[in-house]
């Protein structure tokens, strides 16, 4: 479904992604794990079109999207739950969700999807008139996920959904991710929380300073000493 | 040494041409404007270019200098030198009083605050009857000679160049480059911002004194923010952070102004285009931050 091939990304003098390749098959959960600063967020931003790679290509459903504008990429069916949630703090929960559906014209279906989000996150329904900035961290994360779902994505990119959340909430979020996936959305999950991520993913990639150093099925990596080393050092 | 000789020769030559009348009234007026503009541009460049603090109130300091020097020479009967000292000191004081509170503000807010202070100075001058109110002061004796102009321009430029090429100057420039890094390197950024602001204001006041004692009349209207924009055009065109650029641009703008004297609107349209085009296509200005070396005591 998504094919990232040999992309190189630079921030000024920093070579942030080095010949990075990732393949994601339809219907799967793929996770990208690695320490801070490894380049995970950069990878997601590049897929979403926020950053242009200097070389390499990205194809989505066999269409080259390497140089496509971010809003077109959203329209094609890739949406993102950005790192740190990034909800529109001074807008209501409802408005945030409406923004998720910004490109959609099918009013009826949008209404239905909104209801679906509210069924999934009843707490958001209670708070739909509240400003997003006043929600708790967990609720904001749910809103960010709900907002991304409103775009009807075929591929959902999630950047550190567990960041800054209490362990119990993290568990809840991961269950939700599995549920979204079981309803047919392909997911690329970037995580620091390696165990959690590996426990729900099909395939995984481990990143270190802009490169993929390890890849395989989640099961293989789960028990790998290499993974522990990548995080805690040898 | 060579530069010193060249400067002296230039001074003598112009003095000679004035004395024998080769340089007529018209050229002399433009020469005067040129020197005053150089002082204004070089001093504003210290604030806007080197310190990176956008000030739009330079005309206000010029006004303070012009009025205090005239009060000294015309109303209190003091010699010109006292007038000039009063101009420098009062403008520097105004710079201090305005700089201390406003320099806490960042970027565009600072710009607007300085513009506001400049205008307040003008309005206050308008409302003081002792100095003529809106009508200003007329009949100021012409004390600004070529010697004063030349010495003033050279001294202003040298002081600022020397300041910039010292550890103090580097501290000032580091504020422009990265204020937080500068502070963490042990530099009291507030103090150096105020220092640059005060020195800049001082020379603007000096320019004001020279102006008042050449052009016969001063009124608050002359020192509105449009005058500040004039100087800003020079600094932007020459390159924020290049003294050489400021000097060249001041000369160029003076010539341009003289050439377009009969088409004032065209002149302003050109100024506007200079600001826009330079910012879009060459934000570093003509000279960037490069300098021609000018070593006199070095």
């Amino acid at each position: 479904m998504l094919e990232v091939k040999d992309i190189d990304v630079y921030y000024g003098a920093i070579h942030a992604l080095k010949k990075l390749s990732i393949t994601i098959e339809k219907g799967k959960i793929v996770t990208l794990i690695g320490a801070n600063g490894a380049g995970k967020t950069t990878t997601l931003k590049t897929i979403s079109g926020l950053i242009r790679p200097r070389s390499g290509s990205i194809t989505f459903k066999n269409v080259d999207i390497t140089r496509t504008a971010p809003e077109k990429i959203v329209a094609m069916g890739i949406s993102q739950v950005p790192e740190g949630r990034r909800v529109f703090s001074a807008m209501t929960v409802l408005e945030n969700l409406e923004m998720g559906a910004y490109l959609r014209r099918d009013k009826k279906e949008v209404e239905m999807d909104m209801e679906k989000v509210f069924t999934r996150f009843p707490r958001l329904k209670e708070r739909r008139k509240q400003l997003a900035g006043t929600l708790s961290g967990g609720e904001q994360q749910m809103l960010a996920i709900g907002r991304a779902l409103m775009a009807q994505p075929e591929l959902l990119l999630m950047d550190e959904p567990s960041m800054g959340l209490a362990p119990l909430l993290v568990k809840e979020i991961f269950e939700i991710i599995q549920d979204i996936n079981s309803q047919g959305t392909t997911i690329l999950l970037v995580e620091q929380n390696a165990h959690m991520a590996l426990s729900i993913a099909d395939n995984a990639y481990v990143m270190e300073t802009g490169e993929i150093v390890l890849q395989g099925t989640a099961k293989e990596l789960m028990n790998s000493e290499e993974v522990k080393r990548a995080y805690l050092g040898g | 040494m060579l530069e010193l000789a060249a400067l002296t020769a230039f001074f003598m030559l112009v003095q000679y041409m004035i004395t024998v009348g080769i340089l007529n009234q018209y050229y002399q007026i433009n020469l005067t404007s040129m020197c005053i503009n150089i002082i204004l541009a070089v001093s504003l460049n210290l604030i806007n270019g080197f310190t990176g603090q956008l000030s739009l109130g330079h005309a206000g300091f010029m006004a303070v200098g012009a009025y205090s020097s005239v009060v000294m020479t015309q109303m209190l009967g003091q010699p010109f030198i006292i007038g000039i000292l009063a101009a420098c000191l009062s403008a520097a004081l105004a710079g201090f009083v305005i700089g201390v509170p406003t320099l806490r503000l960042r970027g565009d807010y600072l710009a607007i605050a300085t513009l506001g202070f400049g205008e307040i100075i003008r309005v206050v001058l308008q409302n003081i009857d002792y100095i003529g109110g809106p009508a200003g002061i007329v009949g100021i004796s012409k004390l600004t000679t070529w010697t004063w102009l030349f010495a003033g321009t050279v001294v202003s430029t040298l002081v600022i160049v020397n300041l910039i090429n010292s550890s103090y100057g580097r501290a000032i420039i580091s504020i422009r480059e990265d204020e937080i890094a500068s502070e963490v390197m042990g530099i009291n950024t507030t103090r150096y911002k105020v220092l640059a602001f005060v020195v800049g204001a001082l020379f603007a006041g000096f320019a004001g004194a020279l102006y008042a004692h050449y052009f016969y009349i001063i009124k608050p209207e002359t020192f509105s923010f449009l005058k500040s924009f004039d100087v800003l055009v020079m600094v932007v065109l020459g390159g924020l952070g290049s003294t050489t650029g400021a000097v060249i641009a001041a000369v160029f703008i003076t010539v341009l102004t003289a050439a377009l004297q009969t088409f004032p609107a065209v002149r302003m349209i050109l100024y506007a285009l200079i600001l826009i085009i330079v910012m879009i296509y060459r934000p570093q200005g003509l000279m960037g931050n490069r300098e021609f070396s000018l070593k006199i005591f070095g």
Binding site: F88, M91, E98, M99, Y102 | P101, L115, A265
Partner: protein, 293 residues
């Protein structure tokens, strides 16, 4: 006491005008963090378009206003595309200097094309009537200005709160990158913001023509600066702040002229500006957010 209320009423219509101009400042600042120095001059262009459509085309005041609003919306978008867009990634100071350039350009191109002389806004467009309400005199001009300004503010409020475009504007100003991830086109949203802000300024320009009876190419400077102060007073980037700030500035100004000296009226505006900047730079309605390191 009567005198006080009379001044307040006088200030109300002036304040309505300031509020309209301040809205444009605040919207543009909210979305691209630029003090659009040329905003007051767009108002001036609006006043001229209004003037010519009345005096040359003989249109009535409402048509003139609509005409001015459309023209200035286009002008605002053009200015953004030509002068500000190339600087979107430069420093804010570079953008501000450009804005000063645009301001001077609009002022002096108008002088160049139309002359510097003052023009009298056709009185035929608005024959003056006065009403006496319990001792307070109010003119039909005041009523017209206040009513049209308030109507425009209601429309703006509706656009921003209810429409898809308005919500996109808010989203872009809150978090540009997140907005892009929603599929919102930032360029288009910025253009819309300039169009709306400039058309409000144009409406204000026509109202200034009605209020002062005269227009000239430099008429935008002082009201522009005062409206800017109003925007800062209310907290720049905050729309209700701009409205409140505008009315406060208008009323304060008439009070200063009425009770003090009209000579100090402009200095008072700047005094307020500096006081606000020093005491609470985020304005009356603003929240504090420091620089992230």
């Amino acid at each position: 006491m009567l005198e006080f209320f009379q001044q307040a009423v006088n200030g109300l219509s002036l304040g309505a005008i300031y509020a309209l101009i301040a809205l444009g400042y605040t919207m543009v600042y909210g979305i691209i963090l630029l003090i659009n120095f040329a905003h007051g001059d767009i108002m001036m262009v609006g006043a001229y378009v209004g003037f010519f459509s009345i005096s040359l085309l003989g249109s009535n005041i409402l048509v003139a206003m609509i005409f001015a609003m459309v023209t200035c919306a286009v002008l605002g978008v053009l200015i953004e595309k030509i002068a500000y867009k190339p600087l979107r990634n430069s420093t804010r100071i570079a953008a501000l200097i450009t804005a000063i350039g645009v301001s001077l350009f609009l002022e002096y191109i108008t002088i160049f094309l139309l002359g510097a002389t003052q023009r009298v806004f056709p009185a035929s467009a608005f024959p003056a009537k006065y009403y006496n309400l319990m001792g307070i005199v109010i003119s039909n001009k005041d009523i017209f200005i206040i009513v049209s300004a308030v109507l425009l503010m209601i429309v703006l409020h509706y656009i921003i709160k209810r429409t898809r475009t308005g919500k996109a504007m808010r989203a872009v100003s809150l978090d540009r990158e997140a907005a892009v991830l929603m599929g919102i086109s930032v360029d288009r949203t910025i253009s819309v913001t300039f169009a709306i802000g400039s058309s409000l300024a144009a409406a204000a320009g026509v109202l200034v023509g009605v209020y002062y009876n005269t227009i000239n190419p430099l008429m935008g400077i002082i009201p522009g600066l005062k409206a800017f102060v109003a925007a800062v007073l209310g907290g720049i980037g905050i729309i209700p702040g701009a409205m409140v700030g505008g009315f406060v500035m208008g009323i304060l100004e008439t009070m200063v002229s009425g009770y003090g000296s009209s000579l100090y009226r402009d200095a008072a505006a700047f005094g307020i500006l500096i006081l606000i900047l020093l005491v609470k730079p985020t304005g009356l309605f603003g929240k504090n957010n420091g620089e992230k390191v």
